[in-house]
């Protein structure tokens, strides 16, 4: 399989006041297209930082990061925003839906950045909601949905613009076991049936079992790789 993500000698340093904190140290990592990778590790190990760098939300302090042949470390803010809109879908622990918009309108948000007509946007959002099993909840606002349903709306928003890569930061961290399994099953289906490459940060070993591979980070360094 072709490599989707190539990371070389990646490091990230944060400045907190006068202190410099090196969160990631010289990471090398390759992720193949269509892979489902779980990132595990204790709090503060750099999992979310690595995910943010791969998702183009932040820039590295050193090294290079390439996703789908595009060097993210060489892109400016505007270009990075365009790249994210086209190539990445994000799923967060707390869903991060717009509370004043319906499920349908939340899913449509990434499509506002495209040239699609209003009718086409509506159609695609409906398909995405159908895919996550929420075709009958399109008009509901987030507060009218359960946690599991909100996370599924969030997944529909992540996939509606058909990105290559899905980055998921603790997607089941706020869910009960049954809802978590539904969400993880949905992610696995997106990976297996729709070829989406998925990177998932999790603390939960059971969640990691849904991935093809698990990477462990400790104190900003990749310590081992475990195959599922």
């Amino acid at each position: 399989m072709a490599k989707l993500i190539e990371i070389r000698d990646l490091s990230k340093v944060y400045e907190r006041g006068k202190q410099k904190v090196e969160v990631l140290h010289h990471i090398d990592l390759d992720v193949e297209q269509g892979d489902f990778l779980a990132l595990m590790g204790p709090s503060g190990s750099g999992k979310t930082t690595l995910l943010n760098l791969i998702g183009g939300l932040d820039l590295p302090s050193g090294g290079s990061i390439s996703v789908g042949g595009q060097r993210l470390d060489q892109l400016g803010g505007g270009a990075l925003a365009k790249w994210r809109a086209a190539k990445v879908g994000f799923v967060f622990q707390f869903y991060n839906l717009m509370p004043m918009l319906s499920a349908q309108k939340n899913v449509e948000l990434p499509l506002l950045l495209t040239k699609l007509s209003s009718g086409e946007r509506k159609k695609r959002a409906a398909i995405a909601l159908q895919l996550v099993g929420l075709a009958d909840r399109t008009a509901h606002k987030p507060t009218e949905l359960s946690g599991g349903q909100q996370q599924r709306v969030s997944i529909a928003r992540a996939i509606v613009s058909d990105p290559t890569l899905l980055v998921c930061d603790e997607p089941t961290g706020d869910l009960d076991r049954q809802s978590a399994e539904e969400v993880l099953g949905l992610l696995r289906a997106l990976n297996r049936d729709h070829g989406k490459t998925i990177l998932m940060v999790t603390h939960d070993p059971k969640a990691a079992e849904y991935a093809n591979h698990t990477l462990h980070l400790d104190k900003g360094t990749l310590v081992q790789e475990v195959s599922a």
Partner: protein, 388 residues
């Protein structure tokens, strides 16, 4: 336009707060609409095609200083002057000192210079023949339910008769109608009394004239004729100032009160308060949406898009409240005019007021939104998502 639903939804995310801010904006622009109408009604005094043909000559020092009657013949002889007449301020009140009546003592030919005032020939003759006769404006007559033939007592706030009494009897002999209600509203409000009756009854006038009104043969000669009239009294104890009717009206108003300054000061204070109030609302609205704005940026909205959306939200808030406020002003102005019994003749909210109003809405909206929009634009996604 495709972001409009998002901007609208963000604006009404906290309904109560947004509605309270909207009420403040509506009140501010309602006040703007009403006060602007007051300012315009003062500005429009003397503005008419006929008014442009007339010059008004008063004492240079103050409009309450009288001029000698002998000046009439001299003014009439100035080249470019077609006709000349005069008037005195009477200062009447009906029944109660608060019921002020715009009353002027004039000679019978006074209305020859005012073709925009419609009055029948019979009524003009009755005015000339009746010593205590008075011609009364239509709205004024309606206000006090006067009709032709009524005997009405007026109290002069300035002039007593020879016995010292300030009560003057009059008989209504005719009704004045303004042929153009837009520019001639003032004539509907006034009362004309015979100058001769006035001059012979009060011991304080002694043939003096309050001001002269001159009809020009050629409107384009106004400046030249005005200078020539003023030259007649140069270096005398009654130096004059001759102006067009519009300038004289404005000067009169200014001596009473600088309406433009008063209106401007009130509106300045109102809009400054509005700036702080809506600015605070927008700052709060953006601060509590930090996470949502970070999500928008995460999914690919650019910094400029986020900046534009916050600015649009702020301008939309101001335009929404402002337009409702001005519409309410447009509805209320006729009610206020009617309720004043003809004392106020306010023009409606005109195109210029709308343009100025919408300009103010957009400017205040942009000012109010600029700081929160800038903060939103500079928002760091990683920090915002982490709640830092």
């Amino acid at each position: 336009m495709k972001y409009l639903h998002l901007v609208w939804a963000s604006l009404f995310r906290r309904k109560t707060r947004t509605l309270l801010t909207l009420v403040s904006i509506i009140a501010a622009f309602l006040l703007f609409g009403l006060l602007d109408a007051v300012r315009l009604s003062f500005d429009q005094a003397g503005q008419s095609a006929n008014g442009a043909k007339r010059l008004q000559t008063g004492a240079r020092l103050s409009f309450i200083q009288p001029l000698p009657a002998s000046l009439e013949a001299k003014i009439a002889a100035v080249p470019g002057v077609k006709r000349v007449t005069y008037a005195n301020w009477f200062g009447g009140a009906y029944q109660d000192p608060h019921n002020q009546v715009f009353s002027f003592a004039v000679p019978p030919d006074y209305l020859d210079l005012f073709p925009e005032v419609a009055v029948t020939a019979a009524e003009r003759k009755a005015f000339a023949d009746t010593r205590i006769g008075a011609l009364v404006g239509e709205q004024l007559a309606q206000r006090f339910k006067w009709k032709v033939g009524d005997k009405i007592p007026l109290q002069s706030t300035i002039f007593p008769d020879k016995s010292g009494s300030k009560n003057w009897p009059f008989e209504v002999v005719g009704i004045l109608h303004a042929s153009d209600k837009k520019t001639g509203g003032f004539f509907d409000q006034m009362l004309l009394l015979n100058w001769k009756y006035f001059d012979e009854t009060t011991p304080y006038n002694r043939g003096a004239v309050g001001w002269y009104v001159t009809e020009l043969a050629d409107v384009n000669q106004a400046d030249k004729v005005a200078k020539a009239i003023d030259a007649l009294s140069a270096n005398s104890d009654h130096e004059t100032r001759t102006q067009t009717e519009q300038a004289a009206s404005a000067s009169w108003m200014k001596q009473l009160a600088d309406i433009g300054l008063i209106v401007g000061s009130i509106m300045g204070a109102v809009f400054f308060t509005l700036l702080l109030l809506s600015g605070n609302t927008m700052m709060q609205a953006v601060r509590e949406r930090t996470g949502e704005l970070a999500v928008l940026k995460t999914i690919g909205f650019s910094n400029v898009s986020v900046l534009a959306m916050v600015l649009a939200e702020s301008v939309l808030l101001l335009v929404l409240g402002g337009v409702i406020g001005l519409l309410l002003a447009a509805l209320l102005i006729p009610v206020v005019s009617a309720g004043s019994g003809g004392m106020l003749n306010l023009p409606g909210v005109g195109v210029n007021s709308w343009i100025l109003g919408v300009g103010l809405m957009a400017t205040i909206g942009l000012l109010v939104g600029s700081l929160p929009a800038w903060s939103a634009m500079r928002l760091n996604i990683v920090d915002a998502l982490a709640g830092r």
